[in-house]
Subunit: 384 residues, 2 copies
C-alpha cells in the first residue's frame, strides 16, 4: 500500500515511520517545488507528482495550507482523505466558523470583519476584550491581534490598515476567560468507524504548544463524552476521513471549539508512546479503510503521558534518556527560532510519577527553551 | 548520530525505524555485495562501505554469519559493537560451548566431534538420544541431525560422511527432555549498564520460531532472577555491548543455555508493542552509549504480549487489524517457503484476554501457515 502526503515535515516523517512497519509506503510532496521526496531523508524520489498520485492508494495532507491548485489536483484523483472541503475548513477561519455554527457546535462568539469600520460594531456586540485573527494563513500565533480595551481600537486599526480584508477577512472573537485548553484527537475511517483518544490538556507559551498531558487531569467521563459528541458531529457532518484534531476551551463543565486541524496534530504526539495505536498509524488506517486501532491510554507504566515540544534549540543532553519512560523524537531539521525541532514523550503510571519524571527531565532542559516545564512538573507532582 | 548495520534484512529495517524517530540514522550493508543500502527501500546509498564506516558512530550486525573479512574490517575501526569475538561466539557452536563452560553457565552436556569415529564415544558418554549440530552456518534448524537409538548410528554416519569435520566440527549434545523453551533478551551499554526484558516463552515448529509470549506464563521472580544472572555473567564475561539473546531450556526450576544470538532477536519482537522501549531502540542506545530504556512489560492494556511470525505466506487479510491490540509488522520481502515475511504483535491486559485475541486472529490466519496459533490461543485463554 502507498500513501502520498502533501507536506514533507515531521508529521509526514512520523507517518512514514509508522507506515513502514505496517508495510505501507509513505511518500511526501514538498509543496514548495512539487517534488516527491522521501519523508525522512527529504531526498527526491524517482517519481513525478503525477506518477505518485497514480501510484498511491490514498492521498492526504500534513498541513492545511497546501496551495489550492495542488489540493484540487489531489481531489480530482478521488483519493484525497480528508477531502478538499475539510482541508479548507482547517485553512480558513470563516469556513470553520460557518461549519461550527451550521452544526450547532459550541464555539466562541464571533463576527467576520471585511472592513475595519466593522470593528466598532464588534465591540458593541462582543465586548471590548477581543481576539482578532486573520482568517487564513494564521499558524502558531502568527496573524493574531488582541484588543483589551476599546481605547486601543484606533491603534489596532492603524496596525491592520495594510491588510486586504476583502481577500482575507478577519474573524473577531470574544476573549473568553476559560479554565484551560484541551484537545480531542480522533479518527474516522472511510467505512465510518470512529475512535477518539482521551482529552489532552495543552499548555501554550507565546502562541505555541509546549506541553500536552493525556489524559487531561480531572477530565471526567462526562467531559470526554461531550468531546466525543462534538467530534462525532463534526466528522459525520463533514463525511470526514482521517485524523481530526479539535482544539477546545474548557469553561467550567463546558467545552467550546477553538480551532480544527484536519490532520494529525502536535497535541496527539503523546499517543506514540502512550497509546496502543499512535495517531499516525490510525490516520493511515483511516485513509486506507483499514480497521482502526485502540485509542486509549495504554495503562500500567503508560497510564498517563506527557509530550514536551523541543522548540528553537538543538543542544539537548542525551543523558535525558536516563529518565525512565522517556521517548525521544527528533525531526532532523536545521534549528531556527521558534521552530519545532522534536518532542519528548514521557509515560508514567500516575500523574505524581509523571511530574517527578518531568522534574528530572527539567534538569537537562533549559528554562529559556522549556518555559512551561518545571511549573507543569510541580503541578503534576502534587497530584495524588 | 549514525549507525552502520551489517545485514540488510528486517532486523536492520526495524533498527532504522526506531532509530529514525530518535534522530539516529541507520544504514545497512548488504553483505552479498558490500554495498551500503537504505534499510527499508534496500536502494544503494551514495556512499562506499569505507565511507560509511568512517561516518558511523557505531557499527553493529543484524546476524552473526557476516563474512569474517568484513567483520575484521569493522573491528579494525574500533567501533564494532558487539565486538568480533562475541559475534563469532554466536556463529560457531564450538566457541559458544567453550564460552559457556568457561563461565560455568549451565548448558546441555556435549562433545565436539571432528571425526565420525568419535560418535561412538558420544553415545557412551551422553547416551543414545543425541542432537548433532554443525558448529557453523547452522540457522533455523538447518545443519541439525538427531539420533534416537544407537542402532541409527551407521545410517547417520553415512549421512554425515561428506562433511569436512576438520573444517566445521560437529557439536553433539544430549537430547534433553525439557519442559519448555524460553529466551532472555537484554542489553548492555558501552558504560556497562544492563537491562533485561522478562523471560519470553517460545513455540517452535519444524525448527522455526512461530509464537513468543512475554512474560512467559508462570515465570517466577526466581526464574527471571536466574536468567538475569546468566545474562549478566555472559555480558560481563564477554565485555559485551548491545542486545544479546539467550535461548534457554527450562527443566523444572532450572535453566540451561541452548544458544546465544549476539544481536536483536525474533523472540524479542514483542517488545515493540509490549514494552516502553523496544529491543531495537535499546540496542541502538547500547552501542551509542546512551542510557538504556525500561525493559519491562508496559502493563495495563499491554501487560502481556504475544508475537506471531508470518512465515512463507503473504496473503493475509488486513481485516485482522480489527482485533484490538494488534500491531502488524511487514518486512516487504518476496515470499518464499519458510521465509519470515513479517510478524504480528498482540497486547492484552491478561493471558485469558490475550488467548481470546489470538483466537480471533486465528480466524484470519490459515492453520497451514500458523500451525501453533489456535492451540496456543486455547492454552492462554484457559489461564485465569
Amino acid at each position: 500500500m502507498q500513501v502520498l502526503v502533501y507536506g514533507a515535515g515531521q508529521l509526514a516523517q512520523m507517518m512514514y515511520l509508522d507506515g513502514a512497519a505496517l508495510g505501507i509506503n509513505v511518500m511526501a510532496v514538498d509543496v514548495n517545488n512539487n517534488t516527491v521526496v522521501h519523508p525522512v531523508s527529504k531526498l527526491p524520489l524517482e517519481c513525478t507528482l503525477e506518477q505518485a498520485i497514480e501510484l498511491a492508494d490514498a492521498l492526504t495532507v500534513e498541513f492545511e495550507h497546501v496551495p489550492e491548485p495542488l489540493l484540487e489536483q489531489a481531489q480530482a484523483s478521488g483519493k484525497l482523505y480528508p477531502g478538499i472541503d475539510a482541508i479548507l475548513v482547517g485553512a480558513d477561519r470563516v469556513r470553520e466558523k460557518a461549519l461550527l455554527s451550521g452544526l450547532a457546535i459550541p464555539n466562541c462568539p464571533y463576527q467576520v470583519v471585511d472592513d475595519l469600520a466593522q470593528l466598532d460594531s464588534c465591540v458593541d456586540k462582543l465586548g471590548e476584550r477581543l481576539i482578532i485573527k486573520a482568517s487564513r494563513d494564521g499558524y502558531d500565533g502568527y496573524g493574531q491581534w488582541r484588543l483589551k480595551t476599546a481605547s486601543e481600537l484606533p491603534a489596532l486599526k492603524s496596525q491592520l490598515a495594510e491588510l486586504d480584508l476583502k481577500k482575507v477577512p478577519l474573524v473577531v472573537e470574544q476573549m473568553l476567560s476559560f479554565d484551560r485548553e484541551v484537545s480531542l484527537i480522533g479518527a474516522r475511517s472511510k467505512s465510518g468507524q470512529v475512535v477518539v483518544y482521551p482529552l489532552a490538556e495543552n499548555l501554550h507559551h507565546e502562541g505555541q504548544l509546549h506541553v500536552s498531558v493525556a489524559p487531561a487531569i480531572a477530565s471526567s467521563a462526562a467531559l470526554n463524552e461531550q468531546a466525543r459528541d462534538i467530534f462525532t458531529k463534526l466528522v459525520n457532518g463533514m463525511d470526514y476521513v482521517g485524523v481530526l484534531a479539535v482544539e477546545l476551551f474548557q469553561c467550567g463543565d463546558e467545552l467550546l471549539v477553538n480551532e480544527l486541524a484536519p490532520r494529525v496534530h502536535n497535541s496527539g504526539h503523546w499517543s506514540q508512546a502512550g497509546s496502543p495505536t499512535s495517531q499516525f498509524e490510525n490516520h493511515l488506517r483511516a485513509v486506507l479503510d483499514l480497521p482502526l486501532g485502540l485509542a486509549c491510554n495504554t495503562g500500567g507504566e503508560a497510564a498517563v503521558s506527557a509530550m514536551i515540544n523541543i522548540i528553537g534549540c538543538d543542544n539537548h543532553n542525551m543523558a535525558l534518556l536516563g529518565v525512565p519512560g522517556v521517548h525521544f523524537n527528533w525531526y532532523g531539521k536545521t534549528v531556527r527560532r521558534k521552530r519545532k525541532m522534536g518532542h519528548i514523550n514521557v509515560t508514567a503510571s500516575n500523574y505524581a510519577e509523571l511530574g517527578s519524571k518531568l522534574l528530572s527531565l527539567s534538569e537537562y532542559l533549559s528554562l529559556a527553551h522549556f518555559p512551561c516545564l518545571s511549573e507543569e512538573a510541580s503541578r503534576l507532582a502534587s497530584e495524588s
